[in-house]
C-alpha cells in the first residue's frame, strides 16, 4: 500500500526549478531515500510533503490525505526532523519533549512513558534535565529524532539526519533509524547526500538531480545497472581500448585521469584473461560499484565531491557553533 504518492510535483522559485515533475510511490513500512547533491531539490520536496511549502503544480498525498486540500490532516499524520535543530535551547531535553507531546495532543497517561522511551532510544536519558544549550551538536540531532517519533507518526521525514555529525555519530544515528523501522513500522522518507547513508538505510532510493528523479530502485539494483565490477588499471603504455572491448565480458572501457576504467561482468572469474590481454600493468584496482558510480552513470557527475571537503567543514562548524 502506498503511504506517500507524489505525482508531477513541481516547485519553482522564480526561474529556478527546484523540483521538476517528481513522481514517486512510497509503500508502508519502507525506508525510502532521496539521494542527490546539495541543491538537488530534496529538502524542497520534504517541505512540500510536510505542507510547509505550497507546490507550484502537481499533487501529492500523505497517508491518503492531499497535501494541498487537507494540510492539517497531513500534519496530524507526520513527524519531521529538520536539517537545522529546532529544539528550544532554554528548555531541557525533557521539557522539549513534554512541549511536543502537548502540542500533538498525546493522551496524558502516555506522555511520561513515551518520553522515557524516546530519550532511552537516543541515549539521552542521563541528560534529560539539562538545558539544550548545553548539548553538543550530535546530542541536539538525537533529541530531534526523539521528538520526531514521540507521537509515533505513521510517516517520518528525516531531512539530512546526519549532516554535520562525525562518522561515529553517523553510525549511531543509523542504528536509531533501523530500530524505528523495526519497532514501530514507520514509513520513513530520508534525504541525504551521503551515499553510504542511503546504501545502509534505504530499501529503495530515488537518485535526484536538478529537481528530477533520474533513477528509482533498490541500492543493489541501482548498482547492478552500472553493469558489473569496476577495474581500474594504471600502465604505460596504455593498451588499445578497441581490442579490450572485443572481449565478451567487458561492458565498457574509458580513459579517466590517465587511468583506464573498465566495466567487467564478474571480475573474479575474468580478471586473469583481462590482464593477459593488457600485458604489463603498474597497478590494478578491482571494486564493486557504489552509488557514486550510479550517480555518475545517470548524471555524468560525481555525487559527493563536497564530502569531507570545505562544504562539510563549514556545515560542521555552523552546527557546532550553535
Amino acid at each position: 500500500m502506498a503511504v506517500i504518492e507524489i505525482s508531477k510535483l513541481t516547485k519553482h522559485f522564480g526561474k529556478i526549478h527546484a523540483v521538476d515533475g517528481l513522481c514517486l510511490k512510497i509503500d508502508e513500512g519502507e525506508v525510502f531515500g532521496l539521494l542527490g547533491p546539495n541543491g538537488a531539490g530534496k529538502t524542497t520536496t520534504i517541505k512540500m510533503l510536510a505542507t510547509l511549502l505550497a507546490p507550484t503544480s502537481g499533487r501529492a498525498t500523505v497517508n491518503g490525505f492531499d497535501i494541498a486540500k487537507s494540510p492539517s490532516k497531513v500534519r496530524q499524520s507526520i513527524g519531521i526532523v529538520f536539517q537545522e535543530p529546532s529544539s528550544d535551547e532554554l528548555l531541557s531535553g525533557y521539557e522539549n519533549l513534554k512541549l511536543h507531546s502537548m502540542i500533538y495532543g498525546l493522551p496524558g497517561g502516555l506522555v511520561e512513558k513515551r518520553i522515557d522511551d524516546a530519550l532511552a532510544l537516543v541515549e539521552l536519558s542521563d541528560r534529560r534535565n539539562d538545558l539544550v544549550k548545553t548539548y553538543s551538536g550530535g546530542m541536539r540531532r538525537r533529541l530531534e529524532i526523539a521528538r520526531g517519533l514521540l507521537h509515533q507518526p505513521k510517516v517520518l521525514f528525516l531531512d539530512e539526519p546526519t549532516l554535520g555529525l562525525d562518522p561515529r555519530g553517523r553510525k549511531t544515528m543509523w542504528g536509531y533509524v533501523k530500530r524505528l523501522v523495526a519497532e514501530l513500522n514507520m514509513t520513513i522518507l530520508l534525504t541525504t547526500h551521503y551515499m553510504e547513508e542511503a546504501d545502509e538505510l534505504a530499501g529503495r532510493i530515488c537518485v535526484i538531480d536538478n529537481g528530477k528523479a533520474v533513477a528509482v530502485d533498490s541500492p543493489g539494483a541501482l548498482k547492478a545497472k552500472v553493469g558489473g565490477d569496476l577495474v581500474t588499471i594504471t600502465s604505460s603504455p596504455l593498451p588499445d581500448l578497441k581490442s579490450l572491448t572485443k572481449l565478451k565480458f567487458v561492458r565498457g572501457a574509458e580513459m579517466t585521469d590517465g587511468r583506464l576504467l573498465i566495466t567487467v561482468s564478474d571480475a573474479a572469474a575474468n580478471l586473469q584473461e583481462l590482464l593477459a590481454k593488457i600485458g604489463k600493468v603498474e597497478c590494478v584496482e578491482v571494486r564493486s560499484p557504489t552509488l557514486n558510480d550510479v550517480f555518475i552513470k545517470f548524471t555524468g557527475r560525481e555525487l559527493e565531491q563536497a564530502e569531507g571537503g570545505w562544504f562539510d567543514k563549514i556545515v560542521q562548524q555552523s552546527v557546532n557553533k550553535q
Binding site: L52, G64, K73, S77, H100, M102
Partner: protein, 258 residues
C-alpha cells in the same frame, strides 16, 4: 490509504496552554529580560519624576504621581510589543518551524503567544506597582487589582500588535527600527509624560489616533482618579483597539508563511 489510529489529535486549548507554558518558562530563564523591562520605568519614575517634579506640577498632582500611570504603561508597552515582534527570533532559531509544522491551528498558537505576553506584562507591572508604593505612590489595594485587570487587557492588544509586526518581519535587524519609528512615538505622544490636551496639528492628530493615549488615560485615572480625557471615549477606544488588534493578529497568523 488512511490510518486514523496513528494520527495526532491535538486540542486547541491544550495547544495554546503548551505555547503559553513554553513562553513563560523561557521568560524566567532569562533574568536580563525581566530586569531590563522593569529597571527603565523605575529609573524614569525615580530620577525624572522626582527631578523634574521639583519644578513641575500638573493638574494639582505631583509630577511623579502624574507620570506613574504613564511609566506603568511604558513597562508593558515595550515588553508586549517587543515580545510579539520576538516571533522573528523564534523563526531565526527554527523553533517556530517546529510549531508551525505541528497540527496545532494557527489561532491556538496565537492565543498561547498572547497569553504569554499578558503574563509577562502582569509580572512586570506588579513589580513596578510595588516599587511605586515603596517610593510613595498612593493607591488602594482594590485599585491594585483593577489596574492589573486593565494591564492584562491592554497587554493583550499590544502583544497582538507586536505579533502582527513579528509575523511580517523577516529578520531581527528591524528591531531598532521598530523601537525608534513605532514605540517611542507611541509612548511620547500618549500623554504618559506630559498632557497631550494642548497638542494641536499633526502631533495632536497622532496622539488622538494612538491607542496608547487611551490606555494611559484609563490607567492613570484608575490610579489617581484624574482623567484628562472623557473616560467613556477611553473605554470605547480601549476595547475597540484590543478587539481589532487580536482579529488582525489571528488573520496575520493564518497567512504567515512557514
Amino acid at each position: 490509504m488512511k490510518d486514523d489510529s496513528r494520527m495526532a489529535h491535538p486540542s486547541a486549548l491544550k495547544g495554546a496552554y503548551a505555547v503559553w507554558w513554553r513562553e513563560t518558562t523561557v521568560f524566567f530563564r532569562e533574568p536580563p529580560r525581566i530586569i531590563s523591562a522593569v529597571v527603565s520605568p523605575i529609573i524614569w519614575l525615580v530620577i525624572f519624576g522626582a527631578g523634574l517634579g521639583e519644578s513641575v506640577r500638573i493638574g494639582g498632582e505631583s509630577y511623579q504621581q502624574f507620570i506613574f500611570g504613564g511609566v506603568l504603561v511604558q513597562t508593558f508597552l515595550f515588553s508586549s510589543l517587543f515580545y510579539g515582534a520576538y516571533l522573528v527570533w523564534d523563526r531565526k532559531i527554527d523553533v517556530l518551524k517546529a510549531v508551525l509544522v505541528s497540527p496545532l491551528s494557527r489561532s491556538s498558537i496565537f492565543l498561547g503567544k498572547v497569553l504569554g505576553g499578558v503574563t509577562i506584562s502582569l509580572i512586570e507591572s506588579v513589580i513596578v506597582l510595588l516599587v511605586g508604593a515603596m517610593i510613595g505612590m498612593q493607591y488602594s489595594p482594590a485599585t491594585f487589582f483593577i489596574v492589573l485587570g486593565l494591564v492584562a487587557l491592554a497587554s493583550a492588544g499590544l502583544t497582538a500588535l507586536g505579533l502582527i509586526v513579528g509575523s511580517y518581519m523577516e529578520s531581527p535587524e528591524g528591531f531598532q527600527l521598530l523601537g525608534s519609528l513605532v514605540l517611542f512615538p507611541m509612548f511620547f505622544l500618549s500623554g504618559a509624560l506630559f498632557p497631550i490636551s494642548n497638542l494641536t496639528g499633526p502631533l495632536g492628530l497622532v496622539a488622538a489616533l494612538n491607542p496608547v493615549t487611551y490606555i494611559v488615560d484609563l490607567l492613570r485615572g484608575a490610579l489617581s482618579g484624574v482623567y484628562y480625557l472623557d473616560p467613556a471615549v477611553d473605554a470605547v477606544a480601549f476595547i475597540g483597539f484590543i478587539i481589532l488588534a487580536n482579529v488582525a493578529g489571528v488573520l496575520a497568523f493564518e497567512r504567515m508563511k512557514s
